[in-house]
């Protein structure tokens, strides 16, 4: 792959990435969340288009414009989430989309069963081709995915974090399978966060960062410390305008919070005027923690103290009444009612205050919306504009405006700047400064390490649902945070 470029509105996901994978090697693709790994693989597999660049297969340029085309070229991808139909048998899943046919055009079940059995034997796994997939364990389902990817001649196999749901012994058998494949000359692209896996199965490793490839190394020649440095890389730039104030009184205290299996035994303290950053890998339990803190999901156990008083939140409504708001991870599915007007969205959490006998005062509603639109400089032709038609950054400002209008004192922000442009990011950082200066407290989850480092006063690192480290921003470095998140001592 040469010079691959792919931009989404507001973000350049890939900016001239080169990647060369050799037959028979396991090529590990490393990078932080959002570095562009998954987008690159979507381009390779035809699931996503590209804006520039070329792809060559065995020396010949190829045009991969659809998943079907990728399949016929022998390029297969196994996504992080399994894509199987639970009610169908293993064999039926393997041949879904390219069923073996009899002379009459009917599905040739006997042949599918036979070929599935051969594939499983080739992989060295014992799976009954007739077993419905829902009755198989996760590791076995993963093997069905592998078998599906290998049906017909596969030449390039991409695996996106295949071990995230597997136990150690299942991982071992997956690695054995990968070795068998490379011995047959299949090129494997292996996407992972886990450095130990790089050493166990990788031959070469390419590090992506901010949509560019930073380096390609032979695995033996790169130390873990060097890889971490390459992944983190960026200078913690001056464009994080955090102005820490003097931390005030205790605002929110969490003691031994558990919600299995997402997180367990999480404790922390948030003071007025403080930004507590929460770092960790995808799947470390950050979002689940944020939702539970905001009353959106229930806690199994543990205590939340708000202004020193133990509270049991019965739901988001209860949380809002107590001055706690959540800026959710995905503004489109959780933060906004896209079909409704800007003003309606801004006023939604404040509706009880805007009503008399259940009737909304339009003057009060418009005044509230106008204040937020002016204050946050939300670019919209009118208050009546449907939120769906605003840009990502302005949509995010509307979500933020909802909570400012509702006068929350604790704001839980899950990926506050995801998918928005640089200018809007700066404005959101400034708002965080203003909020904390006014005595509010912010819990900020972010997958962007520089953002966590640049905007937090203290940092909590989660790993597999537990607190792996807590540090003051002054003593935190990208390497320290990343090491704690990845789980290896630096």
């Amino acid at each position: 792959m040469r010079g691959i470029r792919k931009a989404f509105p507001g973000v350049v996901a890939l900016d001239g990435v080169d990647l060369e994978v050799r037959a028979g090697e396991v090529h590990v693709l490393l990078g932080e969340n959002g570095a562009g790994k998954s987008t690159l693989m979507k381009v390779l597999s035809g699931a996503s288009g590209r804006d520039a660049g070329s792809i060559e297969l065995e020396g010949r340029p190829v045009e991969i414009d659809s998943p079907g085309r990728a399949h016929s070229l022998g390029v297969r991808i196994i996504y992080q989430e399994l894509n199987l139909v639970p009610e169908l048998s293993a064999a039926e899943n393997i041949f879904l989309g390219w069923e073996r046919r009899t002379g009459l055009g009917l599905v040739d079940r006997a042949r599918q069963r036979r070929e599935a059995r051969e594939l499983f034997e080739g992989l060295g796994v014992a799976i009954d081709p007739d077993a419905p997939v829902r009755r198989l364990g996760i590791a076995q389902q993963q093997m069905v995915e592998v078998a599906k990817a290998l049906a017909d001649e596969a030449r390039v196999l991409v695996m996106d974090e295949p071990t995230s749901a597997l136990t150690d012994s299942e991982i071992a058998s997956l690695f054995l399978t990968i070795e068998r494949l490379t011995a047959r000359g299949v090129a494997v692209v292996y996407i992972s966060h886990r450095l130990d896996e790089v050493e166990r199965i990788g031959r070469r490793v390419t590090v992506l960062r901010d949509g560019r490839n930073v380096a390609t190394r032979d695995v033996g020649a790169a130390s873990r410390a060097e890889l971490v440095r390459l992944m983190a890389g960026r200078d913690v730039a001056a464009h994080y305008p955090r102005r820490p104030g003097a931390p005030g009184a205790e605002l929110l205290r969490a003691e031994g919070l558990c919600r299995r299996p997402a997180f367990a035994d999480v404790s922390f303290l948030l003071r007025r005027g403080e930004v507590l950053g929460i770092a960790g890998l995808v799947g470390a339990g950050r979002t689940e923690l944020a939702r539970a803190l905001a009353g959106a999901d229930r806690l199994d156990s543990g205590t939340v103290l708000l202004r020193g008083e133990a509270v049991r939140l019965r739901g988001p409504r209860d949380a809002i009444r107590r001055g706690l708001g959540l800026l959710p991870e995905d503004r489109k599915t959780q933060g906004l009612v896209l079909g409704l007007a800007v003003s309606r969205n801004l006023a939604l959490p404040s509706a009880p205050r805007l009503c008399r006998f259940g009737v909304v005062s339009r003057t009060a509603e418009d005044a509230l919306a106008r204040r937020q639109v002016d204050d946050l400089r939300i670019k919209t032709p009118s208050l009546a504009q449907r939120v769906a038609l605003l840009s990502g950054g302005n949509q995010q400002k509307v979500v933020l405006g909802k909570w400012l209008a509702a006068d929350v004192e604790v704001l839980i922000m899950d990926e506050p700047t995801r998918g928005i442009d640089v200018g809007a990011k700066q404005e959101i950082y400034e708002l965080m400064n203003r909020l904390t200066a006014a005595g509010a407290g912010i819990v900020m989850i972010s997958s962007e390490l520089p953002e966590v480092l640049g905007m937090s006063d203290r940092i909590l690192v989660l790993r597999r649902g537990r607190v792996a480290a807590e540090m003051n921003a002054a003593e935190a470095t990208q390497e320290r945070v990343l090491s704690a998140a990845l789980g290896h001592a630096s």
Binding site: A319, R321, T333, Q334, V337, G339, L340, A351, L354, G358
Partner: protein, 316 residues
């Protein structure tokens, strides 16, 4: 989205209104009997029952649900009302009894959906059968007929020539329009239908409001049953069959999205009028009732197809 598309989508009710006006114009050209005062009043009276049910249905659809039980609730609450009248209850008490039955059936729908987590289609499909069966059981399958003139005046009275049912419909529409446009309840119904999760995270009591829209739909059905019973001087356990489809059609022709979150009472009223005028016109033209069904079906499909074509791909 193109400017034209946006203008048309924004003025969705205007589009429906233009359709209604065009239809009236066509009928005026085709038959001298259409544009006469008695006939138009007749159309209003005939439309009122569907319009009232469709307004209740609009709340349900706006919240992202569907209510298939309205026709059966019309039968059950009509029968309850009639039995109460026959037992000698004063008309007002009997009407309230019918309303209570409708509200109760709606409440059960709502609880099955919000507490039992049934899909609205399934819960109300079940209620459709249960309510119909109860209406048949209570009456042994026979109509309950013969009420005093005081009760029947609910349908027969005229105020400045306008039939009482049309006035009732107007009041219902105005009240519903006010609730949807001006009250917190209305705001929340739109928000829930537009994005239930976002509404919940914004502090909306989702389960309460979702339950309430089914209660409203049940009440609207009971009101329709009252008008129907007064008009026919009889309550029939087999009344209201297929009313759910007429109500859904009126809402959809009027621009309410079955996905929830968008639509208006004005649109629904126009949708109901289009269906009423169409039926009336086809009758006046002597077109067979079999062919009428075909035409009405085509109008429903055409209205929604037009909507889809006017929207840009990113909104579909």
């Amino acid at each position: 989205m193109s400017r034209v598309g946006r203008a048309l989508a924004g003025g969705r009710e205007l589009g429906s209104l233009a359709g209604l006006a065009g239809l009236c114009g066509l009928l005026f050209a085709l038959t001298p009997h259409f544009l006469t005062v008695p006939n138009l009043l007749n159309v209003l009276e005939q439309t009122s029952i569907n319009a009232v049910i469709a307004v209740g249905m609009t709340f349900v659809i706006l919240s992202g649900g569907i209510d298939l039980s309205v026709g059966s609730i019309v039968a059950l609450s009509g029968v309850a009302l009639a039995e109460a009248l026959q037992a000698g209850w004063p008309p007002l008490a009997a009407v309230l009894a019918g309303a209570g039955v409708g509200a109760l059936a709606g409440l059960l729908n709502g609880l099955l959906i919000t507490r039992g987590r049934l899909p609205p289609f399934i819960a109300t499909l079940g209620m459709m059968s249960v309510a119909r069966g109860l209406a048949l059981l209570v009456t042994d399958g026979r109509p309950v007929s013969g009420f005093d003139a005081g009760f029947r005046s609910l349908a027969t009275a005229r105020v400045l020539l306008v039939p009482a049912p049309a006035l009732v419909t107007a009041v219902v529409c105005l009240a519903a329009q006010f609730v949807l446009a001006r009250t917190r309840f209305g705001r929340y119904v739109y928000a829930i239908g537009g994005n239930e999760e976002a509404a919940r995270l914004s502090g909306v009591a989702v389960r309460f409001h979702k339950t309430a829209v089914y209660v409203l739909s049940g009440l609207a059905s009971a009101l329709a049953a009252t008008i129907l019973t007064a008009r026919l001087n009889s309550a029939q356990p087999i009344a209201g069959i297929m009313y759910e489809l007429d109500a859904i059609a009126a809402a959809v022709i009027g621009g309410t999205s079955l996905k929830g979150g968008s639509g208006t009472v004005a649109g629904t009223l126009i949708g109901a009028l289009i269906m009423g005028v169409l039926r009336n016109g086809l009758n006046l033209l002597g077109i067979s009732s079999f062919l009428q069904q075909v035409v009405i079906g085509l109008v429903i499909i055409g209205a929604v197809l037009l909507d889809a074509l006017l929207k840009s791909p990113d909104e579909r």
